[in-house]
Symmetry: C2
Subunit: 293 residues, 2 copies
Amino acid sequence: MLEKIHLSIVREVEKQGSLTAAADVLCLTQSALSHAMRKLEQKMGTDIWLREGRRLRLTQAGKYLLALAERLLPQMERAEERLKQYAKGERGTLCIGMECHPCYQWLLKVVSPYLARWPDVDVDVKQKFQFGGIGALFAYEIDLLVTPDPLYKPGLHFEPVFDYEQVLVTSREHPLAQAPYVEPEQLAEEVLITYPVEIERLDIYNRFLMPAGISPRRHKVIETTEIMLQMVASGRGVAALPRWLAEEYLGKMDVVPVRLGRCGIAKQIFLGARVADVDVDYLKAFVDQARQL
Amino acid sequence: MLEKIHLSIVREVEKQGSLTAAADVLCLTQSALSHAMRKLEQKMGTDIWLREGRRLRLTQAGKYLLALAERLLPQMERAEERLKQYAKGERGTLCIGMECHPCYQWLLKVVSPYLARWPDVDVDVKQKFQFGGIGALFAYEIDLLVTPDPLYKPGLHFEPVFDYEQVLVTSREHPLAQAPYVEPEQLAEEVLITYPVEIERLDIYNRFLMPAGISPRRHKVIETTEIMLQMVASGRGVAALPRWLAEEYLGKMDVVPVRLGRCGIAKQIFLGARVADVDVDYLKAFVDQARQL
DNA sequence: GAGATAAATGAAAAATATTCATTGAACATT
DNA sequence: AATGTTCAATGAATATTTTTCATTTATCTC
């Protein structure tokens, strides 16, 4: 009835803009696609496209199929990949999603010993998700989610794997550099440099500045940790980073970590997985590896 | 390459126990299934089943396919249904999931005016989900989730639609029946009757008894509201229910609502949907209808 | 060991998908 | 306004794939 080819055609026509172009991509003729879809339309009794002149515009049913296609086809394609991997004796690809910027550096330190120990497992890391990390887990886009925000809901399993402290990083010459810790008020006249994420997800905002009702003088956004720290070292601003990450740059750059508040900001990294997967050996091994680090 | 039929075969063989039996269900011959799967195995280069005598046992690859099949086939089947609905001029089926027991009564009051106003939309209500309500939303098992626990994550949209108070319900003769409100300690010697859900999800526990460190004398579990209230009326115990629900039974049964704590327990019902769907007219209309109630 | 049952297999038949060749409509260009 | 181009639809022919049929082989049961 409704077959994979129909979904492929709907998706490709939408992408390429015409049946003819889609046919080229799919290595078929325009006629083949036309016949295939005509037949589906007859079987279902509803049109997929409105034929407006020589343009195809999706009907409501067509839009529904398109959404279905974009959801299901990637999963089927991933399945084919995986079957071929099994054939080659490989165990599969562990697909890891990331929701926090600095986690990336930490993840790298887990991945390399893991790859050595599991030579027949590939690792792939994704950072962008249409529906967030949780959605990507549920949609089988990823197998493991690295995140600071666990979510204890049926179907998912989250486990803390790493504790760290979030600290302020300043240049060595900065007046705050020598302080045992900083108070929110002391940042009111500073330039704050962060990764480009929503303010609500920045701990320095929602756990430090906002409770005190303070805003920094300015807020700059930088993608990469190196550049961010170079900006800090040159006195252009201050940043908030995990202590372990800051310490890795301590020798190389003129930066100093300073505690945020009297007690510091404690953070955790969690690994999330679907409950159906938590017993998969190579996945479990990754979580173990992460916890031991 | 990997087609729907392969997934159907894997699923049906697992369900029926043999190729032959699966062939009957699928209206094909055993030979057809055998050829189809052989071909897939050759293309992919990996076996789906281990042939142990005349038994088929799934390989790792096969198990993976089975999981895929149980995830994707229902979605394709639902899609076919929906296309046929579009054909008949119907708009589709609004599939509603429920995570809270008493919400059902409330939902009924929303559904009937909605059905009247949207004659070409069907409504279906589901109450059991393998991966919880959130998972069901992400997996397109349901379109709308009725829940007291919203979840503000990318990809999902939650909206409060109904405020109510959770109250204690006792028999008219009960000593607490005349009190303006009850304190947790006063329930220490009572029999508490609740719906059969995990204790952590019962508000009377986590917002009333647990903070005070109190447990009831006994805890009984009952499925249906009517029976629960009959038990209460006959003095066998007390229950916690929404005030509006309790009030509906006030005339019919000898029960009395009593406030929980000096300030009462305030609750909200939320409707959750996928962000991709929030602009669908008949879904939006349902949310509006719910809010107006 | 006989009978029954299940899967595999090769060849034949049936069904389906695809192409080819063509048409007619819509659009772009002059 | 005429012309050439592009695109989707269509019917018939062809190619491919799926399915069946008939049979074999292996295993399980009694």
